[in-house]
């Protein structure tokens, strides 16, 4: 029994980890759910014992199974239920704003927006007269701001 449990935990965790590495955010969420359930199984296996349910009145022979792990698993299930709901709605919001749940495309969006912000900062700095040569040169090139600052941020 222990071996079966260990094997199924390993398979679930492995499958979850594999899904986590995918580009699709939905698959990442599915991977998260699998991994949380692997953890739940692990809690169950942490207190695996033979016996009847630990509900009063106790049986005559006195052997009851460990109720604590079951309580913990139940709590963990509740938590992973809430978290999965949250993750799904988060992914849904990401889809609404980006029209995509592909991590690569989100990373591209991140890069573009960062570049825009850095351009804004660079432009603001170019307006300031500064004595240092480096900054002077930058200000001279600033006559044609857009392409220059793009190459600037690529240098970084």
């Amino acid at each position: 029994m222990t071996l079966v449990l260990a094997f199924s935990i390993a398979v679930m965790f492995g499958a979850g980890a594999y899904l986590l590495l995918k580009h699709d955010l939905i698959r990442v969420v599915a991977g998260m759910v699998l991994i949380s359930n692997a953890a739940n199984l692990f809690i169950m296996s942490a207190g695996l014992s033979k016996g009847s349910a630990a509900i009063y009145p106790l049986p005559e022979d006195g052997s009851v199974s460990d109720p604590l792990v079951q309580a913990m698993t139940l709590t963990a299930i509740v938590i992973s239920f809430g978290v999965s709901a949250l993750l799904l709605s988060l992914v849904y919001r990401v889809y609404q704003t980006h029209r995509s749940v592909d991590i690569e495309q989100l990373a591209v969006a991140e890069e573009v927006e960062t570049r825009q912000r850095e351009e804004a900062v660079a432009e603001a700095e170019e307006e300031v007269p500064v004595a240092e040569e480096e900054e002077m040169a930058l200000a001279e090139r600033g006559a044609n701001p857009v392409p220059v600052s793009v190459s600037e941020s690529e240098d970084r």
Partner: protein
């Protein structure tokens, strides 16, 4: 969906909730608790969404009060948790204490533990229904 499945889905709602209620009020001394009851009840609601459709379900059931139900449930559970502190008992003390006599209402035993489970039930039902409703509505809106 066929007429058959619609009818079956409608008919299944009441028994589902009955089972949920039974699981909840017997939870303090038998298998079951507020959380599983809430999940069972919201499975019934989910079935309605799947079979009958979003618009009719929202007409049929008071889904729009899901948020209030969740908050009210959490409030009940928190009150049961913290009120014993007012007269010096530790939190989560349940009344009547072990060994004391229990008031019966038919076969139903009146315990604060049951009230706590009612709070948890409302919370889980409210949250689950709210999430189901949110996702169902977004599916309807998408083609536009």
């Amino acid at each position: 969906m066929t007429i058959m499945s619609r009818h079956v889905a409608r008919l299944l709602l009441a028994p589902t909730w009955m089972v949920a209620l039974a699981v909840m009020i017997k939870g303090y001394a038998d298998t079951g608790d507020g959380f599983s009851a809430g999940i069972i009840a919201s499975l019934g609601v989910l079935l309605q969404y799947l079979v009958v459709g979003t618009r009719e379900t929202t007409q049929l059931l008071p889904v729009r009060y899901a948020r209030e139900a969740a908050q009210f449930g959490l409030l009940i559970a928190l009150l049961v948790t913290f009120i014993p502190v007012l007269w010096g008992d530790p939190i989560l003390t349940h009344y009547p204490r072990p060994g004391e006599s229990v008031t019966h209402l038919g076969t139903l035993e009146l315990l604060t533990a049951v009230l706590f489970d009612v709070g948890v039930f409302l919370l889980v039902l409210g949250v689950a229904t709210g999430v189901i409703d949110l996702i169902a509505r977004s599916r309807e809106r998408r083609p536009t």
